[in-house]
Amino acid sequence: MKTDLTIVGGGAAGLAAALSAIDPQLNILIIEREPRLGGILNQCIHNGFGLHMFQEELTGPEYANRFIEALKDKHIDILLGTTVIDIQKKTDFEITLTSEANGYQHLTSKAVIIASGCYERTRGAVQIPGERPKGIMPAGSAQRYLNMEGYLVGKRVFILGSGDIGLIMARRMTLEGAQVLGVAELMPYSNGLTRNIVQCLNDFDIPLYLSHTVTDIKGKDILEQITIQQVDDKFEPIPGTEKVFEVDTLLLSIGLIPDVGLFDSLQMKKSPITKSAIVDQTLMTNVEGLFVCGNALHVHDLVDWVSKEGEKAGKTAKAYLLEQKHEEKDLKSIAPGSNIRYVVPHLIDYNHLTEPIQCAFRVTKKMAQGQFKVVQNGEVILLKKAKHIAPAEMENLIIKPEDLKSKDPIEIHLEEIV
């Protein structure tokens, strides 16, 4: 099998990438390991998707459907129930696939877009003390069991971490008849959207314990009891603040990580902060012809931005294939400055700068008011004011080619306005 562009993953990012890469001269293939397209959106049956893309509040499956419908009757090949298990870069990309229907298959492709999404951090990642019974799982897994298979994983539930997935599951499990005893959050503030705190916790009188974490777990075989404790400003548990809950389920909502481990054989350069590839403004990695987008590149909170980034990857991959011109690069950094945790893209390729650069980034602290400054050679070349800035919310900034005064590196800073 031979193709021009292979897209790994048929979620929001992969679908948007495919749509914007369509061209009569190109053979495009989407490979998705699940039996249907849509990715994580299929299990997100709550509404709140699409406000930026469609100015409407859609549920996850409805949002996915807009893109799936748009792909129908288009010149695109789709392999469902098929997993990419290896990609090697020779002259072209050599891809190994496996599926129940066809077993192992090999494929060569001129360009690849990785849109494989992210996975959830587990108990091991945060080293919760105590015994290791059944009944402890990531909140997204519980969401999948409930919304796609119809299994309620427990009846007496506690949630660690106040990320949006955890909050949404607190409401969802309550509506399905479970009792959610509380949510513990290590930080002194919640990581979730205010509207989720209100509509998922306050609506059902579920307590939120800020500056608290789980410090003990009991249960030989099945989870029986957890202990939470308040923490000080160094996140050390404070003795005497223990609270004990009898529960059969502990859901973890403690963070997501881009799922690109499978592509290590490609030797793409990675960022220790985003835990995924370093890309330039075309979303190309240091591996010629390899692009990454969506949650596989960095974790987004809104699907709308995932779709926009997927669109970008599709468009630039198409240009790369039709114009084949990335041999000579002039790469300079887009570095995170004061109060900024990371910026994607990490690099500008000045030799292929034709369109505005869409920068996505996260800040390190909460601010009521601030301004973002793009700095080149010590000079501020772009200024953007913003309100209600928070680490949990991704920020966006567009730098136009004409904003750039030279071909030097740039930095993005955040300054507080008091």
């Binding site: 849509g38 049956i45 509404n47 996915a64 459907n65 509207r195 509509q199």
Partner: protein
Amino acid sequence: MKELTCIVCPVGCHLSVDESLKVVGNRCPRGEKYAIVEMTSPKRMITTTVRTTFEDCPRLSVKTKEPVPKSLMFDILATLEGIVVEKNVKIGDVIVADACHTGVDIIATKSISSQGVNL
């Protein structure tokens, strides 16, 4: 006196409302309106799933077409307990009409067919 967090915008003002519906703590008029609606006739969208007989899609996701009174949430969910979808369904198809006499239909948020789901 009731304490509320406003969700109209990202500021999240802490509101207090008393029995005569006097609102304090709001930084803009939208907060006052939100608090009064929350105190008098709060509404919510319900999103959930119903059972199906389709082997590769055992649950069909559904939602109330419009927000419904918050007080009826659990009653409306109870009416969905016994529903089993056996036929092909398209997004927007009515699964239950006029849920609990609210005048609001419960509609499918996913299409399913015996030819397989989604393409």
